[in-house]
């Protein structure tokens, strides 16, 4: 499918070939992540972060600057017209008149899709509630592709809050586009994927296993995608502490894992990965965070200039 003018709402709007196209352009962009390349001069990207973000917002901003373009940024709701009661629809109509593309993060689910219906300019979803975060999945998958040369046919584990986590949902769908050998969905019972996700995996014929047991499964894995488990999700604090303890990645848990296991995390982490893991060969999460720049550069280039 053509990239020019395309909206990015869900990772499932893309095929594995589309994603490979983004990854190839991203690897070309690696040469320019610190020097820049003048491809999008005079183009303006609107960054509308109705919900706070640091890394997603800054990395989109950095990517746009490195491509020679400019950004209109607002973050939070306090100092904008939103606080005065302007609707999201009207804000989008206004920004659509100013910018060549719009990046939106909003706590309301479906906000990006709604914005895309209104705006003529392409809309990129940078997170809508606990729904989707497609560009995060793109850079997660790029990290695997860059290290392993492939994504399909691997044993991939996804750990943490699979019910409310938008990064984990987008990663699960993104990895599924490449047909993993097995997809292990590892979570406490109360944070398992929603039936909506299970049905889509069924439709896609994905071989997936839902389990609570990290200790045994981790030895099977080529990739472990770790996400945060939030305290607020648990009515009982003792239950939270127990779950948190059983899913913490530390050196002793990593004995007996595959030599080339990759551990990913969308960051920020709290204590789900112990700092002692940072120095191991398995830690790819800082590299993953850096990959945000070439991947978002590639996406902006493709959407604004075309293939």
């Amino acid at each position: 499918m053509m990239f020019k003018g395309r909206d990015v709402i869900s990772i499932l709007d893309f095929t594995s070939e589309d994603l490979m196209k983004i990854f190839r352009v991203a690897s070309e962009m690696e040469a320019y992540v610190k020097t820049g390349v003048d491809l999008l001069r005079d183009r303006i990207l609107a960054l509308l972060f109705f919900e706070p973000s640091t890394r997603t917002m800054f990395s989109f901003q950095t990517a746009m600057y490195r491509l020679g373009g400019k950004c209109l940024v607002f973050s939070g709701v306090e100092r904008t017209s939103i606080a005065k009661g302007e609707t999201l629809g009207d804000t989008i109509r206004m920004m659509d008149g100013y910018a060549n593309a719009i990046v939106i993060r909003h706590k309301i689910e479906g906000a990006a899709k709604y914005a895309a219906e209104i705006a003529e300019a392409p809309v990129i979803n940078a997170g809508d509630g606990s729904h989707h975060h497609p560009t995060q999945a793109m850079l997660d998958l790029y990290t695997i592709w860059k290290a392993r040369g492939r994504i399909g046919g691997l044993k991939i584990g996804v750990l943490g809050d699979l019910k409310y986590g938008r990064a984990s949902t987008s990663f699960i769908f993104g990895a599924s586009l490449f047909k993993p050998e097995t997809l292990y969905l590892i979570s406490p019972p109360e944070l398992q994927v929603k039936p909506e996700v299970r049905d889509k995996l069924g439709e896609m014929n994905i071989n997936y296993v839902e389990t609570t047991d990290l200790t045994n499964v981790i030895k099977e894995l080529d990739v472990l995608y770790v996400t945060r488990i939030q305290k607020e999700r648990f009515p009982d604090l003792a239950e939270y502490e127990r779950v948190k303890g059983s899913y913490q990645i530390n050196r002793s848990l990593l004995t007996g894992v595959k030599d080339d296991l990759m551990i990913l995390h969308p960051l920020p982490r709290v204590d789900e990965i112990s700092p002692e893991v940072d120095e191991t060969r398995y830690a790819y999460y800082f590299e993953e965070a850096r990959n945000a720049i070439p991947v978002r550069m590639a996406l902006l280039k493709l959407i604004l200039l075309g293939d």
Partner: protein, 160 residues
Amino acid sequence: MGEGLLVRKIRFGTVIDHIPAGNALNVVRILGINGDEGIRLAIIMNTESSKLGRKDIVKIEGRELTMDELNIIALIAPTATINIIRDYEVYRKEKVSVPDYIEGIIRCSNPSCISNQGRETAKPKFRVVSKEPLTLECIYCERYTSREEIVKQFISHMGV
């Protein structure tokens, strides 16, 4: 009691029969009839039915509804049958069936969905992923809404 009094024949219009007992008012609501349109309407509740034990019937006089308008009833009353009446005779008989796509009328079950934010103009839209058990998928947030949740929405409107 004289059943004839309750089910007096209508000359022209639409009879919605075989509504599960107790659901007639929900059916009227889902059709968007508020009572102030001037439509002549008869609601018969908890009458005997050989098929359902007890059933409700709604008679709409002077208006032939189209199946596109009527199929929405299948969301809450899947057993309903439609009789189009012309000159006191049944001109056409049909069963309602759940449409593949639904716009407006019902709300997404997810309170955090853009279609539930009063001031935004995002109209609720659904893809029907399963007709039995009924499962609707919101076009915006992709959350499922079930028959129980739809029925609840119409009950919560009653008496308003």
